[in-house]
């Protein structure tokens, strides 16, 4: 018998998942259910939507209303769901390629509208499902099957992109920093507006192997040793941040929510 949280929120007859040994996606998926559990939400009023790719297989394992859509389009489907039934808590699970390459346009516009959707981007720095092509978040000079001599593209900073586009809650954590990840997701869901949480995953099979990053364990240790919480970073000397990356809550500035604003238009025409 699985743990209480897994028994409660997973479709246990679909487990084990298809992900590779050591893939960080399972850690992140469980973290989402823990956040939902902590918030005590009505599970029949939660809809989880995904696109295409490794991350997007997650909703199939989660016992909610779930929608596995087309590549990059999860946020656009989710927007329709939220508009049709604003009582639903809509959570989008997407990947770095899904959300920021093919779905980049949908991402910035969902941020801009501040529609009440919480997007969790499982960032494994690679296209895993298709076998290891470089993505918009593959670090410069790292390799992928389509960047055999090193990637010359500059990587996206996803939280900065989302904050600039208008998301009202933005955070980043890693598969290693799971407790922080859970609390960011909790706060993201609580935020009445568009929330984006970048969850840095690990892909030992493709990204790790191609770039000699070692095992899943070593990749998680790297996350442990290189992540600095933004709260601590402000008190640190700039040079001590060299080679590090920030995690934590980057933005929390609530604004009027999209479906509520639209409802005001409908209410103008309501007959007493």
């Amino acid at each position: 018998m699985p743990s209480a949280i897994v028994s409660e929120y997973f479709r246990t007859n679909k487990l084990p998942q298809i992900w590779c040994p050591g893939c960080g996606h399972g850690i992140i998926t469980r973290a989402i259910t823990v956040a939902i559990d902590k918030l005590g939400l009505d599970r029949d009023k939660i809809c989880i939507v995904s696109g295409i790719g490794c991350s997007s297989r997650a909703p199939g394992y989660m016992d909610f209303d779930t929608l596995h859509t087309t590549h990059g389009r999860a946020l656009a489907f989710a927007t329709g769901i939220k508009m049709a039934n604003p009582d639903l808590k809509v959570i989008v699970i997407t990947g770095d390629g899904d959300a920021t390459a093919i779905g980049g346009n949908h991402l910035i516009h969902a941020c801009r509208r501040n529609i009440d959707i919480t997007a969790i981007i499982y960032n494994n720095n690679i296209y895993g499902m298709t076998g290891g092509q470089y993505s918009p978040t593959t670090p410069k000079f790292d390799k992928g099957t389509t960047a055999p001599y090193g990637n010359v593209d500059k990587a996206f900073d996803i939280p900065a992109l989302a904050a600039a586009a208008g998301a009202t809650y933005v955070g980043r954590s890693t598969a290693y920093h799971t407790q922080l990840l859970i609390s960011l997701i909790e706060n993201g869901i609580k935020n009445e507006g568009f929330s984006l949480i970048e969850a840095i995953s690990v892909c030992p099979t493709y990204y790790g192997r191609k770039n000699k990053k070692g095992s899943a364990v070593e990749m998680l240790e790297w996350q442990k040793n290189h992540a600095v919480n933004i709260a601590a970073a402000s008190k640190m000397a700039p040079e001590s941040l060299d080679g590090k990356f920030l995690i934590g809550e980057f933005k929390n500035s609530p604004e009027p929510e999209y479906t509520k604003e639209y409802q005001k238009i409908i209410d103008m025409f309501k007959k007493e």
Binding site: R43, C47, R73, F77, G80, A84, N85, H106
Partner: protein, 377 residues
């Protein structure tokens, strides 16, 4: 009792029909010559508690209406030419996942940006085969403003009943034409809603079809906690690689239209009883065909007309019957012979086939049809 007569544009009649059919959500993107559909939907939907959203692109609009439909709202999008190409990805998703929705395509001249405000009928084959893979298709083609109203309602009804995306294949002539119309009272209109499951969550199989080949459909938020995917899936809705199950699914999607085609297919024919020559056309061209027929009849030429209202599925059976007694079919269309291909396939060599084609952005005039017919007399 009928409403007061109004002067109305085809695109406006489309929105009126959609609202009468129960549309509660519209997602769109500006594109000529369909933009009025979005504009009028934006104005009218809030008045009936419905919602409009202008999405960031055509792909997102198509995605949003599928999402809204799954959450329980009757949904529609509208586009033209290049936008219709962009819809194809998620149109295929709606076909496979069996999500009711209506896609309006006010056809314009193409390929590519083409002649943006000029009429065409070049998307007949794209409406049938635009999305990859074998998929079910229903496409309706109005030829008047009033018929645009009626067929928009029919599009919603068929979509809800058969859980299939339905294309309202208009053309710029019909979309922008203004006519005096009288709309029926709401109480006179038949509205069909999708069938919902009657069993508990534990027993609900979201893709187990009834004998009519259509599975009952729950809404998100109803407590069924079901899964929807664009992957081939079994009756539970979860993905499968099982060849037998995939085969059964793909065949059922086409069979559910085939099984009900007599209820779906609609056409109109005039003066075919004694006709030696029958003009086949759809949409805006049918108006020229009517005039051509009347003028030729005055000259004593026995001409009739045949107008598919459902261009897909094509009204094939009646055309086969006509082919046994008609000498010549004249297929007039604003493209280079798309519907003619279908007619050719159906009539085989039982009758002569003549094509009247025009792709220069101008409408086909009655004289052009008359001229072509007089050549063969």
């Amino acid at each position: 009792m009928k409403s007061k007569a109004r002067l109305m544009q085809g695109n406006e009649a489309c929105v009126e029909g959609a609202i009468a059919a129960g549309m509660k959500f519209f997602a769109g993107y500006p594109i000529t010559p369909s933009t009025e559909v979005a504009e009028i939907a934006a104005e009218k939907l809030p008045l009936v508690g419905g919602k409009f959203i202008q999405m960031e692109d055509e792909i997102a609009s198509m995605a949003a209406i599928i999402g809204a439909s799954l959450a329980g709202s009757k949904s529609m999008t509208a586009t033209s030419g290049p936008g219709f190409s962009l819809k194809q990805e998620n149109l295929g998703y709606a076909s496979l996942a069996e999500v009711p929705c209506v896609i309006v395509n006010v056809q314009r001249s193409g390929p590519s940006t083409g002649l943006p405000t000029s009429p065409a009928q070049g998307d007949i084959m794209q409406a049938r085969w635009g999305s990859h893979g074998d998929h079910p298709v229903i496409a309706l083609t109005p030829s008047s403003v009033r018929e645009t109203f009626d067929l928009t309602i029919k599009a919603f009804n068929l979509s809800e009943k058969y859980r299939v995306p339905v294309i309202l294949l208009m053309d710029e002539i019909i979309g922008h034409m203004r006519e005096r119309v009288e709309l029926p009272e709401i109480s006179e209109i038949e509205i069909i809603d999708r069938k919902k499951p009657t069993v508990s969550r534990e027993k609900y199989l979201p893709y187990k079809a009834d004998d009519d080949l259509i599975p009952p459909m729950a809404y998100y938020g109803d407590g069924y906690r079901f899964h929807v995917t664009g992957l081939a899936h079994d009756e539970t809705g979860f993905p499968t690689n099982n060849p037998a199950i995939a085969d059964k699914l793909y065949r059922r999607l086409l069979d559910k239209i085939e099984l009900h085609k007599n209820e779906i297919i609609e056409w109109e024919e005039q003066c075919t009883d004694d006709a030696d020559i029958v003009i086949i056309s759809i949409g805006g061209v049918s108006r020229a065909a009517d005039t051509a027929m009347k003028q030729l009849r005055q000259k004593g030429v026995k001409v009739g007309t045949y107008r598919p209202i459902t261009v897909w599925p094509f009204p094939e059976k009646r055309l086969i019957e006509l082919a046994d007694k008609v000498n010549t079919f004249v297929v007039a269309e604003m493209n280079l012979g798309q519907m003619a291909l279908e007619v050719e396939r159906i009539i085989k060599d039982k009758a002569e086939l003549i094509k009247v084609n025009k792709v220069n952005g101008e409408a086909i005039y009655p004289e052009e049809i008359i001229e072509k017919i007089e050549e063969v007399l």
